[in-house]
Symmetry: D2
């Protein structure tokens, strides 16, 4: 198929390569002149595609995606298709679909997992939209996904793809936190000589065997104590959105929340809470806290 790829960063660039290698004709556009783009404007991208055009948006969530979709709505025509492959919050998908739908432009949301490894391993794709649109896009999805029976699902109507990806990332947060807690506990125990060696041994035969563990074991080769890594982590939004969605649905997500809170705390989010705690302690007990 012919497809326009907007955003040629770490994800979009690799996906374009995998699509090209799979026999598709990719026209790439990126804001940056150094991106290896094929065209230098959205207008040129649209002009380079045959109707019905297929455009994959792979830019940062929020305003960049909003602006790109709005502009595409002005440039594309009825019957064309936009796939939002970024990390857009699922609640925005319905709005995008509605705005584009008024213009006759089709819309799908597609959550993409796989990171920098996806170019070789294939990407896990979670798609939201109609069955008809899903079949239309299937050649692209089939090329992007891994070469086996999994890694692609029509999760539900528009919004379902990003909802599924959001949940996927929330789970990922929980798993990472679980591994982290285990490592941290072993680091402080006199009974464990080398926590990295223990965790690496779990790659085979163990119940916790996983791709995340494989990645961690890989990193341990260079830095078994992880001393080179600062004790902080950012959050990218999706676990937060999952927790909020679950709150509204009445579903407790304490492990996911624990994982997110650990990251927010590492960025100072709990500082004022502790100031209150220490203040009260100082008041009632004469406890003095040294920084």
């Amino acid at each position: 198929m012919q497809i326009g790829m907007i955003g040629l960063g770490r994800m979009g660039g690799n996906m374009a390569k995998r699509l090209t290698a799979g026999g598709h004709q990719v026209v790439g556009y990126d804001m940056s002149p150094d991106s290896g783009r094929d065209v230098d404007s959205l207008e040129a991208l649209v002009a380079a595609l045959d109707a019905p055009r297929v455009v994959w948006v792979m830019v940062p969530a929020g305003k960049p995606t909003d602006d790109t979709i709005t502009r595409l709505g002005e440039l594309l025509e009825a019957g064309d298709m936009i796939v939002d492959g970024g990390n857009t919050r699922y609640v925005d998908d319905a709005r995008h679909a509605e705005e584009l739908g008024r213009l006759g432009i089709r819309f799908m949301d597609c959550g993409v997992s796989g990171g920098v490894w996806g170019i070789d391993r294939g990407y896990a794709l979670m798609v939201g939209g109609s069955k008809e649109d899903f079949e239309f896009m299937r050649p692209i999805y089939e090329t992007l996904k891994p070469n086996d029976d999994h890694g692609l699902v029509l999760a539900g109507p528009v919004g379902g793809g990003h909802f599924a990806k959001m949940v996927h990332n929330g789970i990922e947060y929980g798993m990472m936190q679980a591994f982290g807690e285990g490592f941290a506990t072993m680091v402080r125990s006199d009974l464990i000589d080398d926590p990295a060696a223990v965790m690496t041994s779990w790659k085979s035969g163990s119940v916790v065997g996983s791709w995340l563990l494989d990645l961690l074991a890989n990193a341990f080769k260079d830095d078994p104590t992880l001393e080179s890594m600062p004790p902080v982590a950012n959050e990218s939004g999706e676990a937060k959105w999952m927790i909020e969605a679950a709150l509204e649905l009445g579903v407790p997500t304490p492990a996911t929340a624990a994982a997110l809170y650990a990251r927010q705390t590492s960025r100072g989010g709990g500082d004022d809470t502790l100031r209150v705690v220490s203040t009260m302690r100082a008041q009632f007990g004469g406890h003095v806290t040294k920084a």
Copy 2:
């Protein structure tokens, strides 16, 4: 009554004063010569008391208390009474009671709450031991407790006093954390002009009215943003012990654990966990974390 008070620090010293003011004869001992002690050794303390002797141990939990009780076992005689008023872990009480019991020495554990305010406000006392011993000690307890219908309970057999105090402190941790989370949320909101003023207003009419809130409001007078307080807090053991006891009893204590974990995290306890998280992120996504 006549009573020996061992440990004349912030708690023991004030309790001795309240007892003296209440008409009791207190013989005070402390390791420090500057403590205002009446005698300069345990031997002298014991010698100064009439049989059956009553000795109140008010020293730090753990080894200091263990050593004091062991030494008292050597110095006291059958029929004498030891009350451990410190923050001893409840599991140690049975051991102390048994060791002393073999010598005919009576033992009670008494959790004491009230902080530096107790000298005036009275202390909340949670006692473990027999009803007979409780009645024997009642004159002392009645003087230490507040001047109303509450603040004194025979919680259960030996160990029950410290168990109750442990739970009391666990609840205190949860309450402090709850106030802290509320303050921290307001600090970051554009809709709240002065979080300290809001919280101070809750002193009357509100569901969250409490002594802890009164203390906090008091501190806000000098430092409404709490900027002078470092964003860290120590833990004193009791919430941790409660969480462990509850774990073994099959009772989830997530709010208490959240409160303890916040303090442990503020002391770096979660650092290695975050190193793992950031390492995995770096591996799969090319995410780079800046310290």
Copy 3:
């Protein structure tokens, strides 16, 4: 002052009585004919008030409040004042203020705490709006609040009152959960004879002394084991909203979340999570779970 009170339920009815007792002229309206209402329609309420009219809306949050404010917007005129005293989510306040502002109608949001006890004890009021409007409404606020120096605050601009009340209720959730965890731990311990007696003793001298504890102690008189109470609790929205607001502000609220999750879990919110856990256990270990 003259004031129209819309909603004469448990809260609004009692507030009307306190205002009347305070010398204000209250015109009450409620949908229910049995409410003791003074007028039988919003139209009649508006007609009964002198301009500039003051109307206090005390109806359930969400659609009832929305509809009432919309209808009042049609009936009132420029210079009139609406105070939303219900448990409206703070994000809705800006919308209400804007809609009414276009009509020249003034708007304040006022979070009200105190429950059924407020009629005597006074209500804690957290107000959002301008200083000018606050001064205009002060006579009403002063009557509703407790008769001391606290219980009333201008928390911030419109939305700030409900934001402060939301945080207040989130703290309340955490405190209640903390007391609950402590009670539950003592119930299962052999060392505690009567958990209710222990907690009741904390009413004086203790660090956890609070109005919530007083209420609990009151309930213990009739049911010291709480056996008559089902092990479930509903949630009313505000703790959930606080957690969501804090998530967006980057502030971890693990104790508040623990409290909310306990309630959601008691209503079956975690059931599907446990089905997954048990399914995995059954798969890898041959573990069989009996219901």
Copy 4:
């Protein structure tokens, strides 16, 4: 090698088969006559082995293991070796090693992961003890472990094997909870047609790919909604012990605790907490909770 296997249940029985298939001579003993045991008493087991004897204990943790090790201490002689492969709490290992050491009997602890799949996949082994003993036992370990470079580690001195296994299982708890929370959130969302299909798709290309996910996907084939599974889960001790160990080490483990608490709650552990919450709500607000 020649080895005595005590306990021929789901784990021990399969391990004996794998060892036999690997060319070792296994003498099996189990309390049950129907177990396919080779000998009908510990005495006969010891008699059937050549010195220095190697005995692998694979019986339930706690008293069964304690009793078995004590009895073996009486039957074995200096130079013999006992490996405890069960789920013994790490703190008990030092005691066992010391008791046996006085008799000249060697001791290792070995945490074993792999469940019912281990017979074919191989078992992940985490060993505690000396390097010398580890090398002595290596032929056995090499046969039990998977046929690749992983799945076996000398974690540390005696106790280190069970400590590592404990942490391993704690991580497993967190991972399972994370998957569960994700599934539960999708079940309640209108945007997800088939949560089981979404999660099954993650088997390839996704960051959450793992053996646990594979097992779950396997179970989904028969029951995509998991309706046949009761919403409860038991706990087996190890996550609890990890949380306690971490508490003492000052390491917060909120995700692991969330996972354990979810299980304890499903068994009624939080009921009394909610009774307190509902009691307070009833007191201050006139809230009535229906069971």
